[in-house]
Symmetry: C2
Subunit: 344 residues, 2 copies
């Protein structure tokens, strides 16, 4: 008799697996803990005591993002530990462009079928990213969507909040003609352009190195995103190089994002020959083939973050001392628009 009755589990939602997943992720959440965090993950919301000392007019900066179809590649390769780093990177490096210190982070994970081990891998990566960025993982949601997402498929979104004193806000309003533009090296494609990248590698062997030398194509494509938050904050807080603005190079590439960091009326010239485009991008380009313009409009081309500064040399020195691969790549101009020099 009882077997005939409909139940939530029969309809595809496994509440016990959800409990198991929450237990599995608890230690990972713990290692991101900051002293301001008040409760554990059992509550309705994450509690973060905001220490107002040192702030006169604090501005809370918030951002949300996902990792796009890099997820599909992770699924193909059965490697889910690094996606969380990408997720945190996408969000916190959007916060830090304003000069904000990332405080806390939450994740939303939608799965077709809840596999606690799988969830643990993903959240462990998110905790890795939070540790790298210095923010606390204070909450999250695991949503099981039977029938909407197939088993094994998932999507993940991240949300972060940071704080900056209003008078220290960085951005276009500080940028002046003649300012130097500094490039910070990327660790790979980060989390942008994977819809195109996946179409370009369709017939390629992900297990081969294709001349990438120390890693396979699959490894190179899955490399987690470099998180620049602490480096950007170091630059901004020490006043070294007189930072005006940062530009997080994500969807739309350098020409799509740099205008967001420039005031109306000013432009920039970036010489693409000042840095070396990593071999991974050249491989993808050859396999298309894809034009230079399209490559730069879709991929970061080896530049994950830009700093617009008054003193380029001082900024490069500080970043290099922090082991960031940094170089002068351009200048702010009185001529509007972003021009890329050195394209084929």
């Amino acid at each position: 008799m009882s077997e005939e009755r409909a139940s939530y589990r029969a309809a595809g939602v496994d509440l016990d697996a959800a409990d198991a997943a929450i237990e599995a992720i608890r230690p990972h959440v713990e290692r991101t803990r900051r002293k301001e965090v008040l409760d554990d993950i059992g509550g309705f919301g994450g509690l973060f005591r905001f220490d107002t000392r040192g702030y006169r007019r604090p501005v809370l900066v918030s951002a949300t993002d996902g990792v796009g179809t890099k997820l599909e590649l992770a699924r193909q390769l059965g490697e889910h530990r690094t996606i969380g780093v990408d997720l945190v990177a996408m969000v916190v490096d959007d916060l830090v462009v304003t000069g904000a210190e990332p405080l806390f982070f939450l994740d939303y994970l939608a799965v077709g079928k809840l596999d606690p081990e799988h969830v643990e891998q993903i959240v462990a990566g998110i905790a890795d990213g939070c540790e790298q960025a210095g923010c606390a993982l204070v909450g999250g949601e695991i949503a099981e969507h039977p029938g909407v997402l197939p088993p094994g498929r998932y999507d993940v979104a991240g949300f972060g909040v940071g704080v900056v004193e209003e008078r220290n806000l960085l951005g276009p309003h500080r940028v002046q003609p003649g300012d130097a533009i500094i490039a910070m090296g990327a660790s790979g494609l980060h989390a942008n352009g994977y819809s195109l990248a996946r179409s370009l590698i369709e017939d390629r062997d992900l297990g081969a190195d294709h001349g990438l030398l120390v890693q396979t194509l699959g490894e190179a494509l899955l490399r987690p995103t470099r998180i620049y938050a602490r480096d950007c904050l170091a630059l901004a807080r020490r006043g070294v190089g007189s930072v005006r603005a940062f530009c997080h190079v994500t969807g739309g590439g350098l020409p799509g994002n740099l205008p967001r960091s420039l005031p109306d009326g000013l432009g920039a010239v970036v010489d693409t020959r000042m840095g070396e485009v990593p071999r991974l991008f050249r491989l993808l380009q050859e396999w298309g083939p894809v034009t230079d313009e399209e490559m730069w409009r879709v991929f970061n081309m080896g530049i994950g973050m830009l700093a617009i500064v008054g003193d380029g040399e001082a900024a490069v020195d500080l970043l290099r001392a922090r082991e960031v691969d940094a170089w002068l790549c351009g200048e702010v101009t009185t001529q509007p628009g972003v021009r890329l020099l050195g394209l084929g």
Copy 2:
């Protein structure tokens, strides 16, 4: 020649449609604006000036959630304007249980194929919800996932931040034996239990009213979630009824959520006969059939929020004056565990 070259658009990502969508949602974002909001949606992050006056030890409360497979029903019925209200409700009413005032909200929208008109409907609903809750929509992400989600399919996640003075935090630590438990009427299923609900209505006509009188089954199932944030805050701030804690009745139903609002060692008894279970739930139950226990474990059964208060009558009076359907439904006990009275 150029047609042979691979491009981002051919790989399924439409950047122009994204721009059109951002234009379409701008007026909706505008109507949620609060005076603390500093910039528009073009920037990397949302900026919210936090007015520290009136706070000695402010606690930032954050939550994230989705709307589960209610989305599938919305898709089936081609009605996407109300899902956003559900999304905001799920998040802000998790914030308010701590006594926090919702300040700002962000959304993450993943689509198979970006349809600007469709996106506008969804975000318009989110803006409706933010207006109802009194929080600002400060940012969002529209992620196009070609190949992962089919065209027409989407998922949406929300993220909210609120603030409460530390000494005013509500929660289990305030709850005492003998406290009254007040039920606040739900507007429908809210956004929980849809995996089961969808399996129960598989062969039913969504266009018929099935005795629901003023609406069709489809309309009843899609009714947007009642947002209790302002009502809960009114209760908490005026000190009426001596509020100890709230309980947002979501996934897991009343027996799954009420324990989260009780301290170790105490329990509660709830008499299900004190309120009337709306006909929609009875219909679903008959169609299973589903046991009473399972119904209460999955659905809100007509109770969307609980208030645990020292003075039940005063709390009910204030809520009813605010046009919330509210009634006394139970009591906090020294016997641990949550007991539901009156189940069949």
